[in-house]
């Protein structure tokens, strides 16, 4: 690998193990994207934001790469410059056009008070995207409001030197020898009328964390477990309406991504996440909320062991290491990978519930930041995904969906209201 610039940033790097699938599925109509947003208290000043971006991008060299196709694998090549800041649209997360974006794999969009970053999953995961956005927001506020920021694990100091650890493909470092991806059951999928192909329906519910925590405590579970149980309960109601005969009901499986940085105590800014599948087999009959919570708690505890997670990582790492897979040229491999992802990618999961956790901003930033949001883009097999991020005693729970029907979202939020938890809704749908 040749070094450029200051002699330290690699000229090219291999994709990390979780990212190898994303370039294969990339097309004009589909790209695995996600979006992280931050809403300030005032309208954004674009000039200051541009200055902040110029300062911040140097701290995140892993974001400064473009996607290139080699003979056997895709790789990332260093990309000079800085992406332009563009206006935001009503329908976020359309597939990114690299050429229009100076070959960068992320784009920065602004609408009034909201700053958004939309990222192609090949460069980083949700946590990495959040850290980049909050560091940018911190630098912007420092320049605009002249505040002093106490940098922490989510708002990095843009003037310090990047760390080698942030660059490394951690999957390889921690993978051992025993592989296990687990058996994939066909999950129940929520179906409906497809929206216009450019449109992604977004409904965000703002929920007070203290009240949610109180309810979760009644069931002796964490907020994540409680939300997953409520999601399963909502899907169960839909399934019971659509599939009358219990023996024909497929299991409801919620895929919960887990941030491996916490498991292995590292700080990479590239993809480093795995997932656990939490399922309830509804063919045995109707599950009460308490029963669902019990199943979810048990399964999450069982799956969340380092050994099981490691077996999953090992499977991800070892498969592309197979000699026969490696020697197939990329232009053939791409189609095989794309087809198998299309066939099996979302087969084993009803929906995704991705929790970015509670964001602890530096105290000086809090008065200027109203909201933080996280959205996952369209997927090919599922109708939608759910995400949440907590900030300032508020949980921002977002449902992104490519279908017109909102029964699932309505059931989930009305369940919360019935439980005495107030929900405030914002959306790109009813404005």
């Amino acid at each position: 690998m040749k070094n450029v610039n200051d002699g330290r940033i690699p000229n090219w790097i291999k994709l990390d193990n979780a990212a190898t699938i994303y370039p294969a599925t990339l097309s004009r109509r589909y790209a695995a994207m996600f979006r992280v947003t931050v809403t300030f208290d005032k309208k954004i000043d674009i000039k200051i934001l541009e200055e902040a971006l110029n300062n911040v991008i140097k701290r995140f060299p892993s974001f400064r790469y473009k996607l290139k196709s080699g003979l056997f694998w895709c790789y990332l090549k260093f990309n000079k410059g800085c992406p332009a800041i563009t206006k935001d649209y009503k329908n976020p997360l359309l597939p990114i056009n690299f050429k229009e974006n100076k070959n960068f794999m992320f784009r920065i969009r602004v609408f009034e008070k909201r700053l958004a970053i939309e990222i192609f999953h090949a460069i980083t995961d949700g946590r990495g995207g959040l850290i980049f956005l909050l560091t940018l927001a911190g630098e912007y506020l420092r320049l605009k409001e002249n505040i002093k920021i106490e940098y922490n694990d989510v708002v990095l100091n843009p003037y310090e030197k990047w760390k080698e650890e942030e660059f490394t493909n951690q999957f390889k470092k921690y993978a051992r020898n025993i592989k296990d991806l687990g058996k994939k059951w066909k999950a129940f999928h929520i179906k409906g009328t497809n929206e216009n192909r450019n449109m992604l329906n977004i409904i965000t519910g703002i929920i007070p964390i203290d009240k949610l925590k109180k309810r979760a405590k009644e069931y002796d579970c964490t907020i994540t477990e409680y939300i997953v149980a409520l999601l399963i309960d909502s899907v169960q109601d839909i399934q019971e309406k659509k599939v009358k005969r219990p023996e024909k009901r497929e299991p409801i499986i919620i895929s919960v991504p887990i941030d491996l940085r916490k498991v292995y105590n590292c700080n990479t800014l590239r993809n480093f996440a795995s997932f656990i599948n939490v399922s309830v087999d509804t063919k045995y009959g109707h599950y009460k909320l308490q029963e669902i919570v019990d199943e979810v708690k048990c399964k999450m505890k069982l799956m969340f062991s380092e050994k099981r997670i490691n077996a999953k990582i090992t499977s991800t790492v070892r498969l592309p290491e197979n000699f026969f897979i490696r020697i197939i040229p990329m232009f053939i491999k791409k189609h095989v990978m794309n087809f198998s992802e299309w066939l099996y990618g979302d087969r084993g999961c009803t929906t995704v519930f991705s929790n970015l956790g509670n964001v602890n901003l530096p105290k000086t930033m809090i008065p200027f930041v109203e909201e933080i949001g996280f959205i996952i883009g369209k997927s090919r097999g599922k109708s939608g995904s759910c995400t949440c991020v907590g900030y300032n005693n508020k949980l921002f729970m977002t449902f992104s969906s490519k279908i017109k029907e909102t029964d699932f979202q309505r059931l989930f939020f009305t369940k919360l209201v019935e439980l005495g938890i107030p929900v405030e809704i914002e959306s790109n749908k009813g404005e």
Partner: protein
Amino acid sequence: MYCVKCGVKLKKSLKRCPLCNTPVIMPINREEEFDTVYSKVVEELKHINYNYVGNLINLVLIVLALIVLICDIIITRKITWSIYVLASLYYFSCFIQYFLRRNIYLTHFVNLLGMEVLFFVIAYLNNGMSWYLFLVSPFILILWLYIFLFTLLIKRKKGNILRKFSVSLLFSSYALMAIESCIDLYKYNKVELGWSIYASLPITIISAIIFIISYNKKLFDEIKQRLFI
């Protein structure tokens, strides 16, 4: 403000509840009062200009045809073999319309014409007008008529898939009989149906059975159970 149906609080910019589509009743001018959370501009994916691509391919084919024509004239001093190439290029240009044009019926018609022209040129240059007019041309017409009807059936949104399949089978038996009639007329100047009857009869019976099964859901399920692989 709250949604009266769902009980959730709604952001002030919302005019309808996104969960149940119930309109929000508020007697103030909301456009001026509150900022919207999302932009009102919708981003569109860039469309491929299929007409442009089609014209570009046609242009390339014309250039190719001219080169072939010039080569033929230079080498043989007259137009000989290049006619075959030109007719083939013309048919190729007709065929690629399937990937470029949206109107499938028009594309079928263009292809029918293209095929007729290609075979006409071959027949004309080889003194085979008799077999072209009485054998090949009706063959092509029957084939495309069948394709037209098949497309019409498949494109229909209503209707059971099994019924569509059975009707298309019936069409194919008629097409076989029409083809044999053409051959008989060309060879013996009279129609005496033989092999097409033997082929059409089982096809018609199968088609009738499928048609009946399509109306009997229970029987269809039973057959599906017994025959699953």
